[in-house]
Subunit: 123 residues, 2 copies
DNA sequence: CCCAAGCCTGCAAGAGTTTGCAGGTTTGCA
DNA sequence: TGCAAACCTGCAAACTCTTGCAGGCTTGGG
């Protein structure tokens, strides 16, 4: 029984789904609580259409759940632990090469989690 | 400072690298200790060329390290925790839909970890 | 009833990934 | 020195993913 093959394919699909900067940021944003599409678009500074397309993918694999309230569609993580698990990957990235600001992985985590003022600096 | 953008891109690169069944199996195999290319090719039942190509990608992002001994190239995980972290993703996959054998995530983990006889059953 | 806000889907061009194959390098052994 | 084992790299065809755009649906307010 090639169970390991099946599991590895399923896992690969999950990793594929998360293998996009926008979607990772969505997951982290939703880790803080549910939010509607416009709110997510504002938070990530991306067109709402793109957010919607990413959410459709996350929805298709049941990583997020939808709740409709009037015209707004609110999304939340199906499993709230997902955001923390994603951040657990920080020790594995070779961040030292390209993020000069952060001397340690801990500060990288802090940088991510920090709620920056969403106004002045663009992308 | 768009630190979060940089971190999300780095993380996405990591996820992209792991978003392939063969490479996930390589990581799990190497989680048990170092192995040479032929050994990995036998373990995964794949052509050695393909293994080599996957390893080149993992090496480029420093997820694995190489040690040469004569004609053999032995590979090991740069960070041994990687394999365990990958398995921590099992609760997030919607495995119930497609792996009828496994009733619970725990058994999926067990199925993965189980050392199956590598002989009879093909792929 | 009509409009606009908020969101969704389909599509196609461009970009990126995967894979087998051909050909190369290095090492060990006779 | 010659040969074979064990790997590595480059390439091109096939495939998949991304993204903006055009268009569609539903809801709430006037």
């Amino acid at each position: 029984m090639p169970s390991r093959l099946i599991v590895s394919r399923e896992l690969a699909d999950l990793f594929k789904l998360l293998a996009h900067p926008d979607r990772l940021r969505l997951v982290e944003e939703l880790g803080a609580g549910e939010m509607d599409v416009t709110g997510l678009a504002d938070a990530l500074d991306l067109p709402a259409t793109r957010i919607s397309q990413h959410l459709a993918l996350l929805r298709a694999q049941r990583l997020v759940e939808e709740r409709r309230d009037g015209r707004n569609h609110f999304y939340r993580l199906s499993n709230p632990h997902l955001a923390a698990w994603v951040l657990d990957a920080l020790p594995f990235i070779d961040i030292r090469q390209r993020l000069e600001d952060a001397e340690h992985f801990d500060s990288a985590r802090a940088l991510w989690s920090a709620r920056e003022p969403q106004s002045s600096s663009s992308k």
